[in-house]
């Protein structure tokens, strides 16, 4: 054993002392030769013969030297280095080729690594929580009408926490917390702060330890307990300059002193996991007693006991849920709940799995196209280098050695591509991580990490083998003599090459076709989504969160807001304004709505989205009144309860009848329907069918106040006057910006836009690759057929005839490729059908568009060589035969 190690060690040593050892061996073998010659002379040979005989007995000086080297050093490595040196020399001579190859590979590998980083971040990497595989998300099983139908009441939470046997502990948060729900005082301007209300044990269950300070104590979750807040790391950095001294101090939140008890670690990003695209600045403890009568308020997160599976937790939750009380004060409020449990990871990223896999496949296709293209280029080069390789083979290079040389070349190219690709991927991922407005979970933690590097290495080597092997197999199968004789222009010998290259181009066109069809379908879906009737008109509408003097009395509140709206509407440039508590595509909640006097089956009626609004809101948002009237200020707290419902609800509750002046039951109160408005897309652009109702602000409690303004003026001009007006009513109005409603529409479509843009970019790159491939093959074809063309021109073929022939050949390639690609696309389109919106997987426009695009690209790519062919001078060409 010792000998083996020692030898390995010596071999490595020898590798680095190559030239000295070579010199020593030269001296040794020279002595050998002299000694042998001397002896032969002594035997009676003449000097020349003696030396010749000695050389024969040695068996070749060079061979002995090679043997010696192999025995003492690391022959494979030495050959590798030789090949590497040779490759670098060759590529330096052929800079254009090297640059194109590295660029293509760089783009292909870069796209792959970037997408892998996203996939790894969202799908593969565990969530940034301790033992995250134990965390489960529990929500109501058939929640179709927004958050309220997915969440549970305080009593249900306590019941569930007490009675379940599969979970170590259950926690939750209050997902209805609107953005900018607190105001931080102690500055000249009040600062809006988004604080998430979480149950006291939230961080314990997730296994997140504060970076500084401590978690919530039980007394901080009790009514009239000490007010406490935990700060998110970025907010602490931004607002308190990362001062650790802030912990233990009281800050002014909503005019109340609240003690900062700690700062959460940097890697804990609530928004990234639980509400993509949103930022959370601080966490305050839920005080369950205050929320007991608020209805459904919590989503659940549980931690499994060791050895319990998600399926077991799911089964138990399903059994337990119907036993939970909505409110223990009402014994008949039991039985309304359902539940399903899924792993937290699945909840966060499960929805995106298909999209991401599609994306992954798309870049995989792209890399395949790059490889095919490079294989094509390399084969073309082989045509030119055939003689070089034949020469090396004739000098004794074995098959393995030649393939090794070719693989070294492709490895060098793909290493260059990988480096470029990594740089690109790094740039792309750091860009993506900063896209706060894209509503994808975990996006902020996208980065090129160890896994991405390993992936890069893997695909770089795989692609090198892929594109290096085709020409490698080609060269090893060649007949030496034929190659040496092959002038590179003779048609017969290169026929095989050409057929291979043609089939590679066809493959490429097919792949490009699949990519283009996919991109086309996603693009169509995206346009369809942008085209949906939102039910409101976001253009020219801006919103701002407002504060006003707290008023318990609803009529007093209405009076304040009436005055506020009067002043706002007096601002020049503002057409209309209104106030709502929730905006579509942002927060939501739902209540029950039923026609009075009707019997409904249990669970027949969906929850109805509730919006508490002022007069003017429908006009400001551009929500159309279909029937009846909208609210006015005479809908007072003491007048009859009234409601405006949307068309879907009206059609279900009073089918075929006029709903106006009918009586509905809302929270047990008789309420008169006074109007019907258009359906609004409330939680997603892509879903319809939800019930919505609007209640006047004097008759129902709002969860917040958002002023909506319709104006043609730019926001920058409007903002100061609006702010001044708001401050005239309430000097402590925090300094927030007016923001266009369009931003929430944009955020709602951002994941779709993200995927669509990426796939389209890949498809365009794929199209370019296909065009390059076609160009390469057709150029080669023209070069090869120069003499043939010359003969035809000499015999009277016209220019257009010559061009036509070339274009026809190209067209045939493109047609075969497109036909095969279209067939493959049909299968691929079915796989992405669930990602499409109002677009059939067989969408004719996408398919036709792809074919047209491919045809144009093919013709454009062939135009240049065809042009060249038509300019062939028959005399010059024929003379060079």
């Amino acid at each position: 054993m010792n000998g083996v190690f020692r030898r390995a060690f010596e071999r490595i040593g020898s590798f680095f002392r190559r030239s000295r050892l070579d010199r020593e061996f030269d001296a040794e073998i020279a002595t050998h030769l002299e000694l042998a010659t001397d002896e032969n002379i002594r035997r009676g040979m003449n000097r020349e013969e003696a030396r010749r005989e000695a050389l024969i007995r040695i068996g070749g000086l060079q061979q002995s030297k090679e043997l010696h080297r192999q025995a003492r050093g690391l022959p494979a490595l030495e050959i590798g280095f030789q090949d590497l040196r040779y490759t670098l020399r060759t590529l330096r001579r052929d800079r254009g080729f090297a640059a194109v190859a590295v660029l293509m590979l760089g783009l292909g590998i870069g796209a792959n690594v970037a997408v892998f980083s996203v996939v790894n971040d969202i799908l593969l990497r565990p969530l940034p929580f301790q033992d995250q595989q134990q965390l489960v998300w529990i929500e109501q099983a058939n929640g179709k009408s927004g958050l309220s139908s997915l969440t549970y009441s305080v009593d249900a939470y306590e019941g569930f926490r007490q009675r379940n046997r599969t979970l170590k502990d259950v926690t939750g948060y209050f997902p209805f917390s609107p953005p900018d729900n607190y105001r931080l005082g102690g500055h000249s301007d009040l600062l809006p702060v988004t604080a998430m209300s979480v149950l006291g044990n939230f961080f314990q269950v997730l296994g997140v330890e504060p970076a500084i300070g401590r978690m919530f104590l039980p007394e901080e979750t009790q009514r009239n307990g000490r007010a406490a807040v935990l700060l998110a790391y970025p907010f602490w950095q931004r607002q308190f300059a990362g001062d650790p001294g802030v912990v233990g101090r009281a800050i002014d939140l909503n005019g109340m002193p609240v003690t900062v008890i700690g700062v959460l670690p940097d890697r804990f990003d609530f928004g990234a996991v639980f509400s993509p695209g949103a930022k959370v600045d601080a966490f305050v403890p839920v005080i369950p007693d205050e929320m007991r009568d608020w209805g459904n308020v919590f989503t659940f997160i549980g931690r499994l006991k060791p050895g319990v599976s998600v399926a077991q937790a799911n089964a138990e939750a399903g059994i337990l849920a119907p036993e939970l009380y909505f409110n223990v004060k009402y014994p008949n409020s039991k039985g309304g709940y359902t539940a399903r449990a899924l792993s937290l990871k699945e909840y966060v990223s499960g929805r995106l799995r298909r999209s991401l896999i599609v994306l992954w496949c798309a870049v995989g296709f792209l890399l395949l196209m790059v490889c095919v293209n490079l294989a094509n280029l390399l084969i073309a080069r082989m045509g030119a280098r055939g003689k070089e390789f034949a020469m090396r083979a004739a000098l004794g290079a074995g098959r393995g050695r030649l393939i090794g040389q070719l693989l070294t070349e492709s490895l060098v190219l793909s290493a260059g591509g990988a480096i470029l690709g990594l740089c690109l991927a790094y740039a792309v991922t750091s860009y993506l991580a900063r896209q706060g407005s894209v509503a994808l979970p975990l996006l902020s933690s996208v980065r090129v990490d160890g896994a991405s590097l390993a992936w890069t290495l893997l695909i770089a080597v795989a692609s090198a083998v892929l594109f290096g092997l085709a020409p490698g197999l080609k060269v090893s199968g060649r007949d030496l003599q034929a190659s040496l004789k092959d002038t590179g222009h003779a048609v017969s010998a290169s026929q095989g090459h050409h057929r291979l290259r043609q089939s590679l181009v066809i493959t490429q066109i097919g792949l490009a076709c699949v990519l283009l069809v996919g991109a086309g379908l996603l693009l169509r879906s995206f346009l369809r989504v942008l085209d949906v009737d939102l039910g409101f008109q976001p253009d020219g509408v801006a919103a701002i969160k407002i504060d006003y003097e707290e008023a318990r009395n609803p009529q007093r509140r209405a009076a304040i807001l009436e005055e506020l709206l009067r002043r706002i509407q007096a601002v020049p440039g503002i057409e209309t304004a209104g106030i709502t508590d929730n905006l579509p595509l942002e927060g939501n909640r739902s209540w029950g709505l039923r026609a009075k006097g009707q019997q409904y089956r249990e669970g027949e009626l969906p929850g109805t989205f509730v919006y508490v609004i002022t007069p003017g809101y429908f006009d400001a948002m551009g929500i159309r009144i279909r029937k009846g009237r909208q609210f006015n200020w005479s809908d007072r707290a003491d007048s009859q309860s009234v409601v405006v419902i949307n068309e879907t609800a009206a059609r279900y509750l009073w089918p075929g009848e006029d709903p106006i002046d009918r009586i509905a039951l809302i929270n047990g109160r008789d309420t008169r329907i006074i109007g019907v408005v258009s359906n609004v897309r409330e939680s997603s652009l892509e879903k319809t069918g939800a019930w919505q109702m609007y209640l006047p602000i004097a008759q129902a409690g709002p969860v917040g106040s958002i002023l909506t303004i319709r104006s043609r003026l730019p926001l920058a001009m409007l903002s100061p006057t609006v702010m001044r007006t708001l401050r005239s009513m309430n000097p402590s109005q925090p300094a927030t910006q007016l923001r266009p409603i369009q931003t929430s529409v944009d955020r709602a479509v951002s994941p779709r836009r993200f995927f669509m843009l990426l796939v389209t970019a890949f498809a365009v790159f794929g199209l370019i690759l296909a065009a390059l491939g076609i160009y390469g093959v057709v150029s080669y074809l023209v070069t090869q057929q120069t003499q043939e063309i010359a003969i035809r021109v000499a015999l009277g073929a016209s220019k257009s005839r010559v061009q036509g022939a070339i274009l026809w050949q190209t067209f045939r390639l493109a047609a075969i490729g497109a036909a095969m690609g279209a067939a493959a696309s049909l299968a691929a389109a079915r796989l992405i059908a669930s990602l499409l919106f109002e677009t059939a997987p067989t969408d004719l426009t996408s398919f036709a568009g792809t074919v047209v695009l491919l045809a144009l690209a093919a013709l454009a790519a062939a135009a240049i060589p065809a042009q060249r062919a038509s300019r062939v001078d028959p005399m010059a060409a024929l003379r060079t035969i």
């Binding site: 020898s14 002595t31 000694l35 061979q63 043997l67």
Partner: protein, 116 residues
Amino acid sequence: MPDTKLDLLQGTLDVMVLQTLAVMGAQHGYGIARRIEQASGDRVLLNQGTIYASLIRLQQRGWISAEWGTSDNNRKAKFYSITKRGRKRLAEETVYWERLSGVMGRVLAIQPGGGD
């Protein structure tokens, strides 16, 4: 086939070199090669150049050592000698080869149709 020279089995050359050095003491490459040829009665097909690959192998394993010196007829040559560990190895190899040749001899002596 008495006229055909024997091809050397992989590994046998190393043993021959060790044995030669053990018997003859320090010797240069040419001397070793000649000695092996003579000892085998010129029946071994030996490209003398291959001896050097064997020498470097043995040297790297620490079974022989090398030193530059001067030959009988005043030429500078590299002299190899066997080390203590080399002798130990040679003893092991000798046992192995004797066993192997014994077994081969017995196996090849089996006559067709014969039993125990």
